[in-house]
């Protein structure tokens, strides 16, 4: 089964190729997921549209109220970029915990999102920041909240001729951010579960809570029950002790080769409690 790899000269060209070959074509960026699937014979595509040369899709741009990320921004750049790591320490943390140096140096943010793994480490923090993903096709462009982008493992709402071109990430000044991933070793490991929180606090009161989990559903999951449980509440031990029920209401992890449902539940509950305790501590320290 021969596969054509076509180097797109610019975005126009890439979108044209995607429009021409439709479901048979896939954009190729870092290739850290795609090439494995290709070699394992698990890729339906006949044409790979290499977008590696589209350097104008690799950027981190600061605007007054948001940071814009290009789809080809390498995961490694998220760790070191001064703006991203300053505005989104939890996002930079996720990037640092992601895969290995080799994969971080090749793999792109657009690829990690487009691969649509429920374990994609970069996604839960982006959900908690309220990030949107921007898609482009010959027909035009559109954006949607990143948590709405996923349909299932490996499946997204991008049409066959659409390509992720970038992300808009609203700044969260003063918010408490948290990310933790769990694996059986310290590096280069697919998460058993991950948790991200972004809390806007007013004294010890939670004004706004955004919470997301990885590996707890067929898609990276925004935990709306947990969010509404926390929002407007006073952050104290009683609130922390009660979060378990809300977490269990949101998540639906499965037993798989990386861990049992019950273990993933415990991890996510513990991480959420830890995050809330950390938030409380930071508020009290600031006071």
């Amino acid at each position: 089964m021969a596969i054509d790899i076509v180097r797109a000269e610019n975005l126009e060209h890439a979108l044209e190729l995607l429009a021409r070959d439709g479901a048979q074509a896939r954009p190729l960026a870092g290739g850290t997921d795609l090439m494995l699937r290709l070699r394992a014979g698990r890729l339906a595509a006949r044409t790979l549209v290499s977008i590696a040369d589209l350097s104008d899709l690799a950027y981190v741009r600061e605007q007054a109220d948001r940071v814009e990320l290009g789809a080809l921004t390498r995961v490694a750049d998220l760790i070191t970029h001064p703006v991203y790591s300053r505005e989104f320490p939890a996002g930079a943390r996720a990037a640092r915990d992601f895969a290995s140096p080799q994969i971080r140096n090749r793999g792109t943010l657009g690829g990690n999102v487009g691969n649509a793994s429920p374990a994609a480490d970069n996604v839960p923090p982006l959900i908690t920041f309220g990030a949107t993903v921007t898609l482009q096709s010959k027909r035009g462009g559109r954006s949607m909240p990143i948590e709405d982008f996923f349909e299932g493992p490996g499946r997204t709402r991008a049409a066959p001729d659409e390509m992720i071109v970038g992300f808009q990430v609203p700044k969260r000044p003063g918010a408490f951010q948290f990310f933790a991933k769990f694996g059986s070793r310290n590096a280069n490991v697919i998460s058993i579960a991950s948790a991200a929180l972004c809390l806007r606090l007013d004294g010890e009161t939670v004004r706004e809570a955004r919470v997301a989990y990885g590996c707890c559903a067929p898609v990276p999951l925004r935990a709306r029950r947990v969010e509404s449980y926390l929002s407007g509440q006073r952050l104290d031990e009683r609130l922390i002790a009660g979060v378990r029920e809300a977490v269990l209401g949101d998540i639906k992890p499965i037993d798989d080769v990386r861990g049992s449902r019950r273990y993933k539940e415990l991890l996510v509950i513990n991480a959420t409690e830890d995050a809330l305790r950390g938030a409380l501590e930071s508020v009290r320290k600031a006071a």
Partner: protein, 767 residues
């Protein structure tokens, strides 16, 4: 000796360092030959089934296909069982594990071969799959082989164990279970078979034991050993996984090379290697220890159920080591071991660094901690009171005589690690720390160097040393270079004995054409066996050239010294160069400048019925202390530091010894904490390094090494082996540290975060 050693105890650079770090070394998959074909195998779709029919017709007419063979096409004997003839090369009649080969295809490209493999149609009648030794041993269990599911039974009987237990003040008895471990060598299995015009075959293989491959290939082809030449290709790691197993792909490639008349390459990808090759055995260890009021062991009893998988392979030999050294470095006045080697339909158990003892060590070391707690002793004190010393007898009633620094090694590990003080500090820390718990644990081992008495028919090693007329030296050994540094040690032994500078010694790739059957490179035996063989050959050469020197310089031979390529008088006066001497000896005196060396240890006595006798030629001690931190929120364990004290006889190459110990510790940490092959009905569910996790550099603890040197007269310059003792106690030490940190005894490995957290949750220890 008595003279200053110039090439021994150094940090000499590996002889193969440059070729490996520059990428110039050629591994099997780097070799391309004209007309070469690629081999792919069809393996079973069931772990246990009758084989009803195989239809290869479609595959035979696929593009690029040169040959498709099944069991009936094997020209010699369709059999590769090393010890017991229970394993066909290609399945016939039934399949007993997922890795059983049904058919082989050779084609012009790997892709064509793969496509043809998929076109082969096989009909099976599935049989019940036996997934645990308990199921295999249950009454009425389906028989995997005609003679039943117990492959063999071994035992050790020492005194009256019942009497020993009657005299005990405390007894602990528990069941421990350990999972598989994959070798995870960098290079998967691979070989090339080249048909030779004389009707023989040449094999280039990534392998530890070229002589095993020679016998296996001769058997399946029905040709003489002398017509089978096996050359070890540069090998990217083995750890036991390339002891017997490479005979299987080599025999497959040989059959197809003979069939097609072309070179045939058979290289596994990682998923195939993980699913097909041998593993460290799953074991169930039921360990019962009794001690008197002072903590001195009075009786030790163990039952070992070793899960062999579908065939014998090396399992009976592996279990001999479990059987003989099940109680570690401790005195056992009365003892009883019962070892059952059991067929199942799981993965194929085989050789793996430590050879059946990391499992029993994990159980024994946990039991020592339990016994200590029962008697109100510290884990260190109970061990101190039981460690074997000179004059003591082992469990197999072997008297320990020479180089027995068990207690010295133990005390060195305790002192260097600050064990007692840290233990108190961690206890205090854990009182106040809610989620992070610290622990310190001991792992102790006594390792018998070389092959067991039961395998001594293989125990001898050769070397061939040529002194070239320019004073350079060419060495061939029967042992193999696996990354452990065997060739560097061989070169150092030659350089030291012949007084040649190390850079003028070259070691050839190991080949069955150069030296006689030297057994496998296993059992931490190669420094001792090949080292001694090289010294034997080099001494012969030295004797001959000193005689020539005596005539040439008019100085008595015992007044002449060879040092770093120079010929000197004892008083240091220079007489000439080795180059000049070698050339004159060769050209003028017609001296034979080639010598065959040989080394075999004295014969050992062994009573198989009672498991008594001299199990091993010598023993070495390994004592490790692990410090861990356990996070009760995730169950994750971080190994902070491992202090590793090792009795090595004499250091030959300090850098290589440290590398062995660091590597062994890390493999032990992986075994203790994360390496977890998962099976469903005999099928491996995680045959990839994405889901079978081994430690990364970020998981490696600080390894603090202490070397104890008490030379053993049988070792080259006094050296003992280090390959396996570096790994054996590590997992036990880590597991004991984790158990101590969280106050809960773990009896299964690995201690994955999930196992730790869920066990504590179930035990009500979390809230």
């Amino acid at each position: 000796m008595g003279e200053t050693l110039r090439n021994i105890g150094t940090r000499a650079r590996r002889v193969d360092a440059l070729e490996k770090v520059t990428g110039r070394a050629r591994y099997v998959d780097d070799l391309e030959l004209v007309g070469m074909l690629h081999l792919k195998a069809l393996t079973s779709a069931h772990a246990h089934a009758e084989l009803l029919s195989i239809d290869t017709r479609a595959a035979e007419s696929m593009p690029g296909v040169f040959a498709v063979v099944t069991g009936k096409d094997v020209p010699g004997e369709n059999q590769i069982g090393v010890q017991i003839a229970d394993q066909p090369l290609l399945a016939s009649g039934k399949v007993r594990q997922m890795s059983d080969r049904i058919a082989l295809v050779a084609a012009d490209t790997a892709e064509h071969a793969e496509a043809a493999v998929r076109a082969i149609k096989v009909e099976y009648r599935p049989l019940p799959v036996i997934t645990h030794t308990d199921e295999a041993l249950a009454p009425g269990a389906v028989k995997i082989h005609e003679n039943g599911n117990v492959m063999t039974k071994k035992q050790v009987i020492r005194g009256d164990v019942e009497q020993g237990f009657a005299a005990a003040a405390a007894i602990v008895e528990d069941v421990y279970e350990v999972n598989y471990q994959e070798h995870a060598y960098l290079e998967p299995n691979g070989c090339i078979a080249i048909p030779e015009p004389d009707g023989g075959v040449t094999i280039h293989a990534s392998a530890q034991a070229p002589f095993y491959i020679q016998k296996a290939v001769a058997r399946v082809l029905g040709v003489d050993y002398a017509r089978v030449r096996v050359i070890q290709a540069t090998t990217g790691g083995g750890f036991g996984g390339k002891e017997d197993y490479p005979s299987e792909p080599s025999a497959c490639a040989a059959v197809l090379a003979m069939r097609t008349g072309r070179p045939v390459k058979f290289v596994y990808d990682r998923a195939q290697d993980l699913a097909w090759s041998t593993k460290r055995h799953r074991m169930k260890v039921t360990n019962k220890i009794g001690a008197d009021g002072e903590g001195r062991i009075t009786a030790a009893q163990v039952r070992i159920d070793c899960d062999a998988g579908g065939y014998t392979g090396l399992s009976a030999i592996v279990s001999e080591r479990s059987n003989s050294t099940a109680f570690g470095p401790y005195r056992t006045p009365t003892a009883r071991v019962d070892t059952y080697v059991v067929y199942t339909n799981n993965l194929f158990g085989g050789a793996y660094r430590g050879f059946g003892t990391p499992q029993t060590t994990f159980a024994m070391e946990a039991q020592m901690d339990e016994l200590a707690a029962r008697l109100g002793l510290s884990p260190a004190e109970i061990r101190r009171r039981n460690i074997l010393g000179p004059g003591d007898e082992t469990t197999t009633c072997q008297k320990l005589t020479e180089s027995v620094p068990g207690i010295e090694t133990f005390e060195a590990a305790l002192a260097r690690s600050g064990y007692e003080q840290k233990r108190r500090e961690f206890e205090a820390f854990n009182q106040t720390s809610r989620w992070l718990k610290k622990g310190i644990g001991i792992g102790a081992c006594m390792y018998g160097g070389g092959l067991h008495a039961g395998g001594q028919f293989l125990e001898g090693s050769g070397a061939l040393v040529h002194l070239r007329p320019d004073g350079s030296v060419l060495v061939s050994i029967g042992g193999t270079e696996l990354g452990q540094g065997a060739f560097t040690v061989a070169a150092q032994c030659a350089a030291e004995t012949l007084g040649v500078a190390l850079e003028h010694v070259r070691v050839t790739p190991s080949s069955t054409d150069f030296v006689t059957d030297s057994g496998p490179t296993v059992a931490s035996r190669t420094t001792v066996m090949s080292g001694n063989a090289v010294i034997d050959a080099a001494r012969q050469l030295k004797g001959r050239i000193l005689e020539a020197a005596c005539e040439l310089y008019g100085v008595p031979a015992d007044e002449i010294e060879l040092r770093e390529g120079q010929v000197l008088k004892r008083d240091g006066t220079r007489l000439g160069s080795l180059k000049e001497l070698a050339n004159t000896a060769f050209a003028v005196k017609k001296v034979n400048l080639s010598a065959q060396g040989w080394y075999a240890p004295p014969r050992k006595t062994w009573d198989n019925a009672r498991g008594n006798g001299d199990a091993y030629s010598s023993y070495c001690f390994a004592m490790q202390v692990a410090e861990v931190e356990v996070d009760l929120r995730s169950g994750r364990t971080r190994v902070v530091r491992v202090t590793a004290a090792h009795d090595v006889g004499q250091v030959i190459n300090r850098t290589l010894i440290e590398g062995q110990i660091e590597g062994g510790v890390v493999q032990g940490v992986g075994y203790a904490l994360m390496e977890d092959l998962k099976l469903d009905q005999g099928r491996c569910l995680n045959p990839s390094f994405t889901d079978y996790l081994i430690p990364t550099t970020l998981d490696v603890p600080e390894v603090d090494i202490v070397l104890i040197e008490q030379p053993h007269s049988a070792g080259p310059f006094g050296a003992k082996g280090i390959g396996e003792p570096s790994l054996i106690p590590a997992a036990a030490a880590v597991a004991n540290a984790v158990s101590e940190a969280v106050g809960y005894r773990f009896r299964r490995l690995p201690l994955t975060p999930e196992r730790v957290l869920m066990s504590l949750e179930e035990a009500g220890k979390l809230r």
